[in-house]
């Protein structure tokens, strides 16, 4: 009956980022937030383990008030309880600061056997949080897991690396990160979504955890510039009937020396 924790990150919707055309400056104004997609896979992995071995799933995030939206999403999927560590500037924290906050929050919540998170988040994708957290909490860590199994207090996972795959075991309690390919997360029903709206979210501030913004993390990370780099594409759409459009396309590609 492992008690599981699924870590969630609330991020800006990457498909709605606003980029200033001339300067390449990225603006977040009015950009809606959402759950980092890969976290739904971490949640699904926990749900699958729960369906086999029972246990309870707690989902934790560090984020602004609005991050409750992402917690509601995993609650609709089936999380038993959720914790929001409310910090309006969470988006500007580096991995080391977030790891410090999560470590404290998890110590406070206590009594968990398995921590699951995604291998990276859709925004910064550093993959550094889990190893930092494992170090701080003195937990065994298995990263890039493609499959999970828990038996007799031992976690067994298949790790997918660049050139090889490994089967690795760790005694619980342990921390595991899962790949984007581990599963296809379930889509909650409308009823489940509505049910999740009514469930409580345990909310803490940094002060509640005995922390302060100036005293978390290594404090040596300073963002200098954030700019969108995308090759300007020509965006020519060929019209007409299908044969006409295809002819225009192939003519263009021939002119460019790409076909023929």
């Amino acid at each position: 009956m492992p008690n599981m924790v699924v870590l969630v990150k609330h991020v800006y919707d990457e498909n709605q980022l606003k980029v200033e055309r001339e300067t390449g400056k990225v603006s977040y104004e009015g950009v809606p937030g959402k759950i980092s997609d890969f976290d739904r896979k971490a949640m699904e992995a926990a749900l699958v383990l729960r369906s086999v071995g029972g246990g309870k799933i707690t989902s934790v995030t560090v984020g602004p008030e609005e991050a409750a939206k992402s917690l509601r999403e995993v609650m609709a999927m089936g999380a038993d309880q959720t914790i929001l560590v409310k910090e309006p500037t969470a988006g500007q924290l580096d991995s080391s600061a977030t790891a410090d906050i999560l470590a404290k929050a998890l110590e406070k919540a206590g009594g968990f056997d398995l921590l699951i998170c995604a291998e990276g988040s859709v925004d910064s994708y550093t993959s550094l949080l889990a190893p930092m957290l494992a170090e701080k909490l003195h937990l065994p860590l298995i990263t890039y897991a493609q499959s999970l199994q828990v038996k007799d207090g031992t976690l067994r996972a298949e790790r997918i690396l660049e050139k090889r795959m490994e089967v690795v075991e760790a005694r619980l309690p342990a921390l595991v990160t899962v790949t984007g390919e581990i599963n296809s997360p379930r889509i909650p029903t409308l009823l489940q979504i509505m049910g999740a709206m009514k469930k409580p979210i345990a909310t803490f501030t940094l002060a509640d955890l005995g922390l302060s913004l100036g005293a978390v993390g290594a404090r040596g990370y300073k963002l200098l510039e954030y700019s969108a780099k995308s090759k300007e594409r020509r965006k020519v759409v060929f019209d007409g009937t299908v044969p006409e459009a295809v002819t225009k396309l192939l003519d263009a590609l021939t002119r460019d020396g790409l076909v023929g």
Binding site: S95, S124, R164, V168, A228, F238, V242
Partner: protein
Amino acid sequence: MADIVFYSEDDDLLHELAGLSSTLAAQAGGGSFGVVMGDDKAGTASSLASEGVSEVYLYRAPATLRDYPEASAQAVAQVAAAHPSAYVLVGSTKDGKVVAGRLAAMLGASAASDCSSVQLSGMDLIVERPSYGGRVRTRAALSGKYVVACVKARAYPKAIPSGAAGKVIESSISPVLTTSMIEVRERPVSSMDLTRAEKIVSVGRGLKKKEDLQMISGLADAMGASVGCSRPLSADLGWLPEEAHIGLTGLEVKPKLYVAVGISGQLQHLAGVKEAGTIVAVNTDKGAPIFANADYGIVGDLYQVVPEMQRQLVATRGR
């Protein structure tokens, strides 16, 4: 004055980091120190020592210990902690990022992964890394007694032997291991290497059934292209192998011509093709994001457009 310490479990990256490390060390007025793990790497250690590295720490241990990032992190931490301050460079592989994260926590350091550029400015290490699947470029300054930067493969050229004679110092650790390796398997290497393909026809969710892949490979053949796909086709449907998956969690490709068929163009997919020369999009939905990220587009049903493209290619070019 500050020293540079570098580590990777990958030999190519070690030689790349050796070059970068020497450059940074010269600027910082410090030394360049390499860490190499495993009994089988004595040769690597001595060649690094001739590439301008002041000292190479060769950790005597069975080669299999290198498969435990926590052991490597303990070794690198031991070397770094012997210096009052150090910039630590780690090869940004999957295991390398685990080493870096642990190392940063052990040393109380700030860290950045997937860095494509690492420069010294005063006492700060200025790094560039991608965010939002490469759409956004982040520049950050890392500072502190210790900092950790994970450097991407092929971001820097390999060091050239300089004739300088650095020292190889044999070292050892008694690592605390919290996981156990049950099995290691080489991943089957597919003959297909899309990262080197000049032309790619890539297909996405617009394809209705697996059998229709024949139509896609028909077009690819007529163009002299390889076949790739977006994530759902390999990961969810299993119609194509993982080696065909292009995107944030798959391959980053750089063909001269990329034809996206029935792919809507989510950011996760676009992250894998941002370096493509010319992008062609075929999609029924004229509002699909792929069109805003393509050079040429046809709004239409792939089941009509693809066979017509193949027909015209074969007819006019006699193939």
